[in-house]
């Protein structure tokens, strides 16, 4: 095989700290600085290139699939990365006298941690950061799937998050392959689609969408979507009743899965003390409905239509961001436009409704941190193009203002007042009004 530079003269299976490995296409040297991790497939090192940039090097353990792995990495490295979140293979690396090969990828900074680690922390990031994590993840997978590639092994070890910035890093990209490739791994059981567990399908975009939904459920609800009372009562050590964990998992996650909030089957509701109960209650109906779709029709009838795809997730997260508000007690809450008089999860009182803004994209809560984007006005999916943002009133901290950050002048007609203009850069006090941005009429009301 072309990638095997002879037998190891030193009998070593991996490069050693201080060794140099070379990238095959550019012939650039990378010095191995330290060993970072060891897994079943290989060893990961931190390396430094001649410009002093950190890189991660994964070196494969000797195995019978080495040649196939080489071709797969070579292929991935020949394409640009689909999204900045992917720690994409940059190039194959070889060592002058160690058997086998490795590959270089972007070094993932220590600020990225496992989602589990984040979920366990007492102080949780605010909802806007949580929504940003979900959105970035969904966008990354959307670009991957749009290229006809699938990830195959979404799990907590591979998807890392920065709890401060809401950014995501997706590692272990070497299992990514085109959908038609039937070989390779099937995934991590608790994230695997039921049809993979029961062995009735191969990994694909459809199974990725399932795993993505499980990950998002963990992110927002702090638990597994299929792990409720029905699963918990099956754990027993009574003589003759004890069933192996694998058998249980195959049954409850594969053969006969039931969503903890299945509207037609209450048999697997979460335990009363499960964190899922508290978090589920906080979110608005429209957002919960997306999970209900993902884990009812998307559970047993796998297809691109029944599963929630990235566009649906992106819209749902975008809507969720628009429903964020704050209770007078100081707690972050969501305005539920489909459930009136919902109590605050923190103080138990019914919060006063914030001002809302009706745009062609729907109704949004005008709360602190709200951003008016082009998508609100034109429904053009330009979520990141901000044209207005709320700020606290400089002298009346309980009031909010909306700053025009676009380059267009808005005309506003507050109730009981005459027509006014809000020029680019100007702020306006939020109060009931009709306003026009170009030819689009929007309304602010309480």
């Amino acid at each position: 095989m072309s990638f095997l530079p002879g037998t190891s003269t030193n009998g070593l299976l991996y490069p050693q700290v201080g060794d140099e490995v070379k990238m095959v296409r550019t012939n650039t040297s990378i010095r191995i600085e330290s060993k970072v991790a060891e897994g079943g497939q290989g060893v990961v090192f931190r390396g430094v290139d001649k410009n002093g940039h950190d890189l991660a090097i994964k070196w494969y353990k000797k195995n019978k699939y080495l040649e196939r792995q080489y071709r797969s990495i070579e292929n991935l490295a020949s394409h640009s990365r689909p999204h900045k979140a992917f720690a994409w293979p940059i190039d194959i690396v070889l060592h002058s006298n160690v058997f086998g090969f490795g590959y270089a990828m972007v070094w993932v900074e220590a600020r990225f941690i496992s989602l589990v680690e984040m979920l366990k922390q007492r102080l949780q990031p605010d909802f806007r950061t949580l929504i940003s994590i979900g959105t970035e993840l969904v966008e990354a997978f959307s670009t991957l799937h749009a290229r006809g590639l699938c990830y195959k092994d979404i799990n907590f070890g591979n998807l890392l998050v920065d709890p401060n910035t809401g950014e995501v890093a997706i590692v272990d990209n070497d299992n990514i392959a085109s959908e038609v490739t039937k070989q390779g791994i099937k995934g991590t059981l608790r994230f695997m689609a039921p049809e993979l567990i029961t062995n009735t399908a191969a990994p694909s975009t459809v199974t990725d969408l399932y795993s993505l939904s499980v990950f998002l459920f963990y992110l927002y609800m702090h638990g597994h979507p299929l792990e409720g009372q029905r699963v918990n009562v099956s754990y027993t050590w009574e003589p003759g009743q004890n069933i192996s964990e694998t058998t249980l998992a195959t049954h409850f996650f594969g053969e006969d899965p039931i969503f903890v909030y299945d509207p037609w089957d209450v048999s697997n509701r979460p335990d009363y003390d499960s964190p899922i109960v508290r978090w589920w209650d906080i979110y608005p109906t429209s957002f919960k409905n997306v999970f209900i779709k993902a884990f009812t029709q998307g559970l047993k009838n796998p297809s691109l239509m029944t599963r929630v795809n990235e566009t649906e997730w992106r819209n749902a997260l975008y809507r969720l961001n628009d429903q964020l508000s704050i209770c007078s007690c100081g707690a972050a809450i969501f305005v539920d436009f489909e459930q009136c008089n919902k109590k605050c999860w923190n103080c138990g009182n019914i919060p006063a409704l914030p001002f809302t803004i009706s745009t062609p994209s729907g109704i949004s809560a005008l709360s602190e941190g709200f951003k008016l984007t082009k998508h609100h006005i034109y429904k053009d999916f330009k979520y990141r193009e901000v044209i207005g943002a709320t700020e606290r009133h400089p002298s009346q901290p309980d009031q909010l203002v909306l700053r025009n950050t676009s380059n267009m002048t808005w005309s506003i007609e507050p109730v009981g007042e005459e027509l006014k203009e809000v020029k680019p850069g100007q702020r306006m006090l939020i109060r009931p009004m009709r306003m026009s941005i170009g030819s689009v009429i929007i309304e602010i009301s309480r």
Binding site: G40, S114, K120, F127, R128, G157, H222, H224, Y235, N346
Partner: protein, 237 residues
Amino acid sequence: MTQLNAIMPGGGISRRSLHIFILADCSGSMKIDGRMQALNYAIASITPQLISWEKEQEQAQIFIRAVAFADNATWHIQTPEPIATFNWPPLNHVEKGLTAMGEAIRLVADALSPEKFEPRALRPVILLITDGKPTDIDQFEIGIKELFSNPVGKASIRLAIAIGQGANFSFLNRFINDADIPVMVAENADQIVVKLTAATLAISKMSSIGSDRKEVAEQVIMPEANEFGVGDEGTIV
């Protein structure tokens, strides 16, 4: 961008306990070659590995208990200690001490009885470290019987590390009672930490639901048999 100072619900996810029992030999021969000190050092050095593994686990919350055995067996750590705050009080060998391995197994078998063991816990792990063979053979026979007649004991993950040449494999294999999992051998004191590290990796992998013990044993306990092993940790091929 952020909601300044908005109150958020507190974090946390529901988890299941993973109880690890360490059975440590403190017989007279453990003083040879600094074995006892090496064992103390090895347990201290695997702790960070277990802590970082637990951090990434959505399920397992690790608790440690330990039994020391020589002329008789006693709880070294009786109350389950969460790994995050775990502290290992060093063990000392007992001068001319015997090897009450049977009694040690009986202590653990008792702690694992279904009425004492929490139903939601993951399969417990029993890690036996010895440089000899049981000197209480009648107790050993009873202990093995008690362990395997108990559903928790039967479901447990059992690993054994033999130190030096004096350890008797036939007893250790009866304790492991699984042809796929070999006894790990530390030829000398230096290797105790290496083997204990491998055992820790094996524990973490075998505790992942859906894992194949035989495959894990081949990957982790018998690295020389790894030539044709494939698959990442926690994944199913």
